[in-house]
Symmetry: C3
C-alpha cells in the first residue's frame, strides 16, 4: 500500500465553477496507483468542491443564479468585514463540499459518464485556491 | 491491507429516498474485512446519497416536500432540455452528497442507532442508479 | 499501514456550532501516524459536521440565523413527535455533513489557515453527541 500527495492551485475569476477534472485525473495516472482511494481537500472557507454535469455550460449559469438567491448578499449579516460577499461565501461553502473522496479503479477515479469535478469560488474577486490531493492504494 | 470493490444498482420509482443500508452492510460482511474505511460513490449528477433516520416514513415525506420548495421546478432555468425537473435535480445533488465514507469496525459500518443510508432520486421518472462501493482495510 | 479508532463525546448547549479541532488534532498526534487519511463520522441524524472559519464568533451568529430561515421551525411538518425542532434538525443535517475525511501530513490534518472543525447541533436542548474518528496511515 502506497500513499501520494499533491497540491493543485486553481486561479478563479470570481464567483463560479472552475473544472478541475483533468489535472486530477492526470496526477492519479502519474502516480501509477491502479486501485485505491483519492481524497480532495479544499483548504478554504469561502470556496468549495462539487461534482456536476461536465457538458452543458447553461447548467453552470443556472447554478450561479440559484446560489445567488439561496444565499443572498443583501441579507443583514453581522460579519461583513470583507464586503457583502464575505458571509454568503461561508454559507455556500457549508452547503456544498470541502472534501470529496473518490474510489480509483484501473488507474482512474470512478466518475460517472457525466460527472466532472469543480472548484466553486464564492468570492467576487479572483482568488488563487489550494486543493490538497491524497491518494492511498497500490 | 486489502481492497474490495462492488457496485450496486438501485431501481428508483421517481423522486424520493430508497434505503440501501442492507445490501451495503451485507457486502461489507461478505468481504471478511473487520476494520477499515468504506466509501460509497454515486455515479450521477441527478441522484445523490444521504444519511437519515431509518425508522419513521413521515420523515421521508417531509424531506420530499421540503426539497420541492428549496429547489422549485417552476423557477426560470436556462437548462431544461430534459424537462422542469432537470436543473432542480442537479441542484439537489449539489446540496446533498455524491459520496460518503464510513469507518468499518467489527466487520460493519459504524452507523448510529437511528442512521440509515439512502439513495436520493431527484428525477420524476424511475431510473436505474449505480453506486460504487470501495472498502479498504483488513 | 496502520489503523486507529477513537470516539469523542461532544456536550452541546442546544443549537449551534461547537469547535472540535483541538481534541481531533491532539488524537492524531498521539497515534504517531505521520501520513494518512483521517475520517470523522457523526453518529446522529440531528447533528452534523462542518468546516468553518476558526476566528470570528460573528460568523457563527450569522450561520445560526441563516439556518433558522433556511429550514424554519414554523413550517408544517408531518413528523413532529419531538417538537418543532425535530424535522428541521434532520433537514439541516442533510444540508451539511455527516462525514469528513481529511488527509494527514507531517502528523496533522491538512487544514487551511482559517479552517476549524465543528460539530453543528440542530436540536434546541443540550445533547451528548458521538463522533467516531478513524485514521489509516503510517
Amino acid at each position: 500500500m502506497q500513499q501520494d500527495f499533491h497540491r493543485i492551485s486553481v486561479d478563479t475569476r470570481g464567483k463560479g465553477l472552475t473544472m478541475i477534472t483533468r489535472p486530477i485525473v492526470e496526477w492519479v495516472r502519474q502516480t501509477g496507483i491502479q486501485t485505491g482511494l483519492l481524497t480532495l481537500w479544499c483548504q478554504h472557507t469561502s470556496a468549495s468542491l462539487t461534482v456536476q454535469e461536465n457538458a452543458d455550460p447553461t447548467v453552470r449559469q443556472d447554478i450561479a443564479a440559484y446560489f445567488e438567491d439561496l444565499v443572498p448578499e443583501n441579507r443583514a449579516y453581522i460579519h461583513d468585514d470583507e464586503g457583502p460577499d464575505d458571509m454568503p461565501a461561508h454559507l455556500r461553502t457549508m452547503l456544498t463540499n470541502t472534501q470529496l473522496s473518490i474510489p480509483v479503479s484501473n488507474g482512474a477515479p470512478v466518475l460517472g459518464t457525466w460527472q466532472g469535478l469543480y472548484l466553486f469560488e464564492h468570492r467576487r474577486q479572483p482568488h488563487r485556491r489550494s486543493v490538497v490531493l491524497h491518494l492511498m492504494g497500490e
